[in-house]
């Protein structure tokens, strides 16, 4: 490739990176946390669903029948049972649903939902109204806050989704241009020299994490762009091309509703027996919810939505006869269309969130997500270093210092703000429907405070060091506070079988150790000519590396 062409790709790579760098860091880091949003952080956020929840399907069957006798028969179109625990639901929900025709010709989904305690199964509340109001009164928590922030930066649809979708595209573009400008990829695979100079620390971190995680970054960029833009651009575009703009028709085609073959012969659905047998036959699957279509008919179908199967698809639905338990069909979300398109659509969500191979794959995805965030921030720092201390800059040194302080404040601020969510979840005593609002106040307030702190401090090296120490102390305090507030101190949680809660606390302790170790190792001022003289064994850098400064 010609030198001029590579130079053009380099310019594109560096400017795309610097314009989107901080946003990319934000989305990547929150993505690394969101990998554990459901169910791990959800379970940690709600002490009532920590520990093993043994679903007593016989009792659940009894409750459903009792409610079915009380509700208006028109609500028996769909009977939905959502199990608490691993499905991320915090209660046992028994919902009865019907579609209502409106005067203007439209449809509205009406529900009656009975909420039961996840362990005792005591009835706690009843809701009747349209489904929009039902979802609006759902209690917020830090897991939901984090995953929503990752998806749309709390800017909603369409602005937030378009923004994160475009960020996915820019990440993908950065991966492609990064490969094109990097002619010594294999040579740099094992080249990491953190103690020689600041410049080499940034460039080697950028290259090592960028090259080893190349395929991951590409997959995350592509699937992120798809998930961000699918609702806003892709669905309307596909509907326009193939369904004359009718989006409902498109959704019905790709996601057809279950149609039971009703016989007219009355029969009671055997929910308890069917679900017990299903769980015994599929011990590795997690049941999210079960919906009964055609209640009271011998041809009624129970559609059991599961996760954790051996497929590259987040969810698989098993349809069985609700009376006899006879298996009828098994399909993934888009699997009813036996096509490559369906397979690809199914793979998008699990590939983005690492939700296709259990906890270990989630850990790998989360680590690589942190890697993507570090690639973004080191790219920013390289851009600043080259302009502040190299020959490429056109602004004053003070201007580059301001950009550097802003980058440090924005990035470290996000770490502090994310940790503050854990404190908010444990300490905020507000109405469940107000939780998201107050978590937002805490999250954005602490982020702004850190940003302000970094901006007013002239020595950004010292402020980064102090912010790492602060993050370490915050992470260290969460398991302690969790033990005090909920009684689930780490050893007790382990003894009581609350492994998810213990796992989250243990991960926070590891993060605390890493942050405190980093704070100890980082210099509190810019090393002389960017070199770490004191951290090496007293040797000066190699002349070739010195030239790179």
């Amino acid at each position: 490739m010609q030198r001029d062409t590579i130079r053009k790709y380099y310019i594109v790579h560096s400017w795309v990176g610097v314009v989107t760098g901080i946003l990319l860091f934000i989305v990547s880091l929150t993505g690394a946390l969101s990998v554990f949003g459901h169910p791990e952080l959800k379970i940690w956020s709600h002490p009532e669903i920590r520990g093993d929840i043994n679903h007593d399907f016989t009792s659940i069957d009894y409750l459903v029948r009792q409610h079915a006798e009380r509700v208006d028969p028109s609500y028996l179109e769909h009977v939905r049972i959502t199990l608490p625990g691993d499905s991320s639901a915090t209660k046992l929900y028994v919902g009865f649903e019907k579609d209502v025709e409106l005067e203007n010709g439209g449809h509205e989904h009406h529900v009656t939902v009975f909420s039961h305690h996840p362990k005792t199964l005591d009835l706690e509340s009843t809701f009747t109204g349209n489904s929009r109001d039902w979802f609006a009164q759902f209690p917020g928590d830090m897991a939901q806050f984090m995953t929503t922030f990752h998806a749309d930066l709390h800017l909603g649809n369409p602005l937030g989704l378009v923004l994160t979708g475009l960020l996915g595209l820019t990440l993908f573009a950065s991966v492609v241009t990064g490969v094109l400008i990097h002619r010594k990829i294999l040579k740099d695979l094992f080249s990491f020299r953190p103690f020689r100079s600041l410049h080499l620390l940034f460039t080697d971190t950028h290259k090592v994490l960028g090259i080893w995680g190349l395929l991951f970054h590409g997959v995350i960029g592509f699937t992120g762009a798809f998930l961000g833009l699918v609702l806003v651009l892709l669905v309307p575009a596909a509907a326009f091309v193939s369904f004359a703009g009718d989006q409902e028709k498109l959704v019905e085609t790709f996601l057809p509703e279950t149609e039971p073959a009703l016989t007219g012969a009355p029969a009671e659905p055997q929910i308890g027996r069917v679900l017990t047998d299903f769980t015994r036959e599929h011990p590795g699957l997690t049941i999210r919810d079960s919906t009964i279509y055609g209640w009271g008919d011998s041809g009624a179908v129970i559609a059991i939505s599961t996760s954790g199967g051996n497929t590259l698809s987040a969810f698989v639905t098993h349809e069985l006869n609700a009376v006899t338990g006879e298996p009828l069909a098994e399909y993934s979300t888009f699997g009813r269309h036996d096509s490559v398109t369906g397979t690809l659509l199914d793979a998008m969500y699990p590939l983005h969130f690492g939700d296709f191979g259990g906890l270990l794959v989630k850990i790998i995805w989360s680590l690589l997500g942190v890697g993507t965030a570090l690639v973004a921030v080191t790219g920013m720092m390289i851009w600043i270093e080259r302009r502040a201390y190299g020959t490429e800059g056109s602004l004053s040194l003070a201007s580059y210092h301001r950009i550097s302080r802003f980058t440090a404040g924005a990035c470290m601020g996000l770490v502090v703000a994310s940790l503050s969510l854990f404190y908010g979840q444990l300490l905020l005593n507000v109405a469940p429907t107000q939780m998201t609002y107050w978590l937002g106040v805490l999250f954005f307030g602490s982020w702004a405070a850190v940003l302000l702190f970094a901006m007013i401090r002239h020595n950004s090296y010292r402020s980064i060091k102090e912010l790492f120490a602060l993050s370490g102390l915050l992470a260290l305090g969460i398991p302690v506070l969790n033990g005090i507030v909920t009684g689930d101190a780490l050893p007790l949680a382990l003894m009581n079988g609350k492994t998810v809660s213990a796992g989250v606390d243990f991960t926070l302790l590891l993060a605390a150790a890493l942050c405190l170790w980093t704070a100890r190792k980082l210099p509190d001022h810019r090393p002389e000519r960017g070199r770490f003289r004191n951290l090496t064994s007293g040797k000066n850098p190699h002349p070739a590396e010195e030239n790179a400064l």
Binding site: L189, F190, F192, R193, P194, F195, T205, V208, L209, W212, G213, L214, L215, F216, V219, G284, N310, T311, L312, A347, L351, G354, F356, G357, G358, L359, L360, V361, I364, W365, L367, L368, G371, T536, S537
Partner: protein, 84 residues
């Protein structure tokens, strides 16, 4: 079973990285152990083709494990290895 397979994938990814690294310069790493891990890697590769496990999934698990171990190995070696 899934977790066992993923752990195997992690182990063999690390072996491949160490073998690759040691092939670039003389290494004191025990060759028999690395060769053993490479054989496991081959067996794993064959197993990932078993449709029951879902080969498409296995490919992504393998590259994810390789990427994660590559980053951890190279960065960890610089911080905790003997050479600086």
């Amino acid at each position: 079973m899934n977790n066992v397979l993923i752990l195997l994938s992690l182990t063999t990814s690390l072996a491949v990285i160490i073998l690759w690294h040691s092939s670039r310069k003389p290494s004191k790493a025990p060759r028999w152990a690395l060769n053993g891990l490479a054989v496991i890697s081959l067996a794993l590769s064959v197993y990932t083709l078993v449709p029951e496990f879902g080969w498409a999934r296995a490919v992504f698990i393998a590259f994810g494990a390789l990427s994660a171990w590559g980053c951890i190995y190279v960065i960890g070696k610089a911080f905790f290895g003997s050479q600086r």
